[in-house]
Symmetry: C2
Subunit: 412 residues, 2 copies
Amino acid sequence: MKPLSDLSLGQRVMALIEDLSRHTDEPGRLTRLYLSPAHRAAAEATKGMMQAAGLAAHIDALGSVVGRLDGKNPQAPALIIGSHIDTVVNAGRYDGNLGVVLGIVVAEALKAEGIVPSCPIEVIAFGDEENVRFPTTLSTSLALSGSYDLAWLNGKDAQGITLREALQKFGGDPDGIAALKRDPSRYRGYLEVHIEQGPQLEAQNLPVGIVTAINGATRARIRVTGEAGHAGTVPMAMRRDAFAAAAEMTLAIERIGLLHPDTVATVGVATVQPGAVNVIPAQVDFALDARSPDDAQRHAMVEAIASECRAIAARRRVDFTFEPFTDSPAMPMDRGLMGEFEKSVKSLGFPARLLPSGAGHDAMAVAALCPVAMLFVRCKGGISHTPAESITVEDADVAARALLETVKRIVA
Amino acid sequence: MKPLSDLSLGQRVMALIEDLSRHTDEPGRLTRLYLSPAHRAAAEATKGMMQAAGLAAHIDALGSVVGRLDGKNPQAPALIIGSHIDTVVNAGRYDGNLGVVLGIVVAEALKAEGIVPSCPIEVIAFGDEENVRFPTTLSTSLALSGSYDLAWLNGKDAQGITLREALQKFGGDPDGIAALKRDPSRYRGYLEVHIEQGPQLEAQNLPVGIVTAINGATRARIRVTGEAGHAGTVPMAMRRDAFAAAAEMTLAIERIGLLHPDTVATVGVATVQPGAVNVIPAQVDFALDARSPDDAQRHAMVEAIASECRAIAARRRVDFTFEPFTDSPAMPMDRGLMGEFEKSVKSLGFPARLLPSGAGHDAMAVAALCPVAMLFVRCKGGISHTPAESITVEDADVAARALLETVKRIVA
C-alpha cells in the first residue's frame, strides 16, 4: 500500500474535478443542466478521461458516458462505478462529479499497477440526477434496468423545450433508450462515491463513511385554515390564528423528528394568508419532509406528526388538512458490498462509520439492476449545492484508496 | 323618551347608510378612496343630507364635509360629531359612514324635537382615514389641529398621482389647508360612533360599548437567520432552522399577548427563505403587531417579547434582529365625555360596557384639538373591511338614541 503521506490519488482526483468544472452553461459559476451544451462538453471530456484511462468509452442514447474495461473474462458479471455529471444551478464541483472522477482514477490506478481485473469494470457518468431542468430525476440511471418511462420525453423545461427535443439536439437517440436496458445477470454490483452533503462525518472527524440506506421520504402538504381578523380588535382568546397553529405544529414536527437519531422532519416552506402585519392569519400552507432509513419507522413518525397536528388543530379550532404527496421507500444498501467498503476503510486505519443517506442518488435507480453500495466523503460544513461545496485533497485521497481497495478485492 | 319598540332612528340611519353606499368607484362593490370621483359624489350627498337636517354645510379645502348648526350662542365652544366617508377596497358600508350618518340623524332629531342647542354643533365627514390610496392616514382630521404636514401633498397613489394633483382634481384647495386649523378654545368635544370591528360586544350580547382608549401599537420587524441545509442530510440536532426558531418565537408572542385581557400581540406575516420543501430554512422575516390601551403595559409586553425571542435565538444558535418601526402611543378617551356616553347607555337600559379600541380612528387626530370620546356599535362576527360588514337596525337605533341623549345633555 502506498504511504499515507502520498496524496497522488487525491491530487489526481482534484485535477480531474478541476478539469470537469470548466464546463458550465453560465460563465462565472457552475451550472450544467441535463442535455445542455455544457453537459455535452463535460460528457465529451469525461469520455476522453475514460479513454485515457484505458476504457472503451461512448456517450449513450440518453447522454450517459459509459466506459468499459473488459478484463480477463468479458462474459463475467461486471462491476459498475458511477455517479452523475449534471449539476444544480450555481453548483459546487463535487456533487456527482466526484463519484465519476473516482471511477476513472481507480481505472487509471489499476492500469498503472498492471492489474487486469477478472471481470469487466464499467464507469458511468449519468446525466439526470439533479431534477432541475426537466420534471424527471434519475431517468438516465433508471434506464439501465429498463425502468425508463418514454412519457418522460414529453416533459418540458422552463423554456418549453421537451426532453425529446433536448435529447435530439444533444445528439442522443430517443429510439435507442430501450436498448440501454441491461441484463441483471451480467452485473455484480454498483459502487458510488458521493460527498455526504451533511455534517456528520465532519462532526466526527472522519474522511469517509459507509452508507447503510438511502432514506425513504414522505412529503405532505399541510393546510391550516383559521379566521382572519383585525390584529388590533380581536382579543387573543377569541382568535383562530392559522399561523400560531402552524407554528405549534412546526415545533411538534421538529420534536418528533428529534426522537430518533437517524430520522429527520423538516418544514421548509410556509406561506401566510392574507399576510399583512395587522391582520390575523386566516390560512397557512406549509409542507412536511420526513425521512428515515427505515420505512416502518418513517410511517410511524408521519402518523405521529399527523395525529399531533390534528390534536393541535382541534384544540385551536382551526381546520386542518394533511395530504402526503410523496412516499418513496428507503433503499437499503447491499450488505456484501457495504462489507467490502468497511474492510477497505478499516485497512486505511479509519473506523468504518455507518450512516444513512438523507438525499437520493443514482444508486437508488441502479438498485433495480444489481446490488449497490455507497461511500460518503466528508464535505466542509456539510454544505452542498453551492459554490462553497468543498472537500480536502486528503479526503479525496482516502476516498480513492478506499474505492481502489474495494474494487481490487471485488475484481480480484 | 320614545318607546323601545320604535326603531325610527335606527331605520333612518340604515336608510342614509343605504343612500351613501351607492357612491362607489367600482361597480358591484363598495370602494371609495380618498379624493376619488365616488368620494366627491358621497361628499356632495353628505352635504345634501346635512343641509336637509338644517345644517349650514360645505366641502372644505381637503374634501371633508362640514355641517354646522350655530345654536343659541354661536360663540360658545362647539361640539363635533364625526367620522369618515372614505372606505377600503371592497368595503363594508358601515365603517366610518355610520358615525357620519349618526351625526346627521341626531341633528335631524334635534330639529324634529324643536331643540335649539345652547352651543354650535358641527357634523364632519372626514375623507382620509383608511390609508389605502396615499401614504397618509387621518390627514383630514389632523388638519383641524394644524397638524397637517404639507409634504404629504407630494405623496403618490399607485398610479403615480400626487395627493396635490388628486386634491386639485377633486375640487379641493392645497392653499386652503392651513386655514382649516381650528382654535381649541372654540371646541368642547368630539364624539365618534363607529362599528366595533371586533367580536367583544357580540360575545357579550351588547348593542354598544364605550371606548376607554385607542390602543397604542408597537410594530417590529423580526429577522431570524439560521443556516440552510439539505432537509434529508443534516441531523435534527445539528440544525439551525430559522423557521423552527420563528415558530417558537411566534408561540412566545401569542403567550405574552394572552397575559392581559386588553393586550394583543400578532404575527400576521412571515416569509421563509429559501423556501423549498426539502431545504432547511435559512432565514425568516416576520413582524410583530402588539397593542395595549396602556403604554407602560405595551412597552413591558414588547420588552418581554424581545427578551423571550432573544433567549430562544440564543438557545437555537440563530441570529436575531428585532427592529420596532412603529410606536404609536395609546390615546385615552376623555373621562367626562365617556361618562356622558355611560349615562346615556344606562338610561337606555343597557350596561355601560367599557372596551379599548384596537384600531385607529379619526378621534385620535381630533384629540389634538379637543376632548374626544367614542361609542362602539356591535357588528356581526366582529367583521369589518369586507362586504359582509353588518349591523342590525336595532343596534343602529340604540346607537342613535345613545348619541342623541349624550348630545342633548352636552348642548343643553
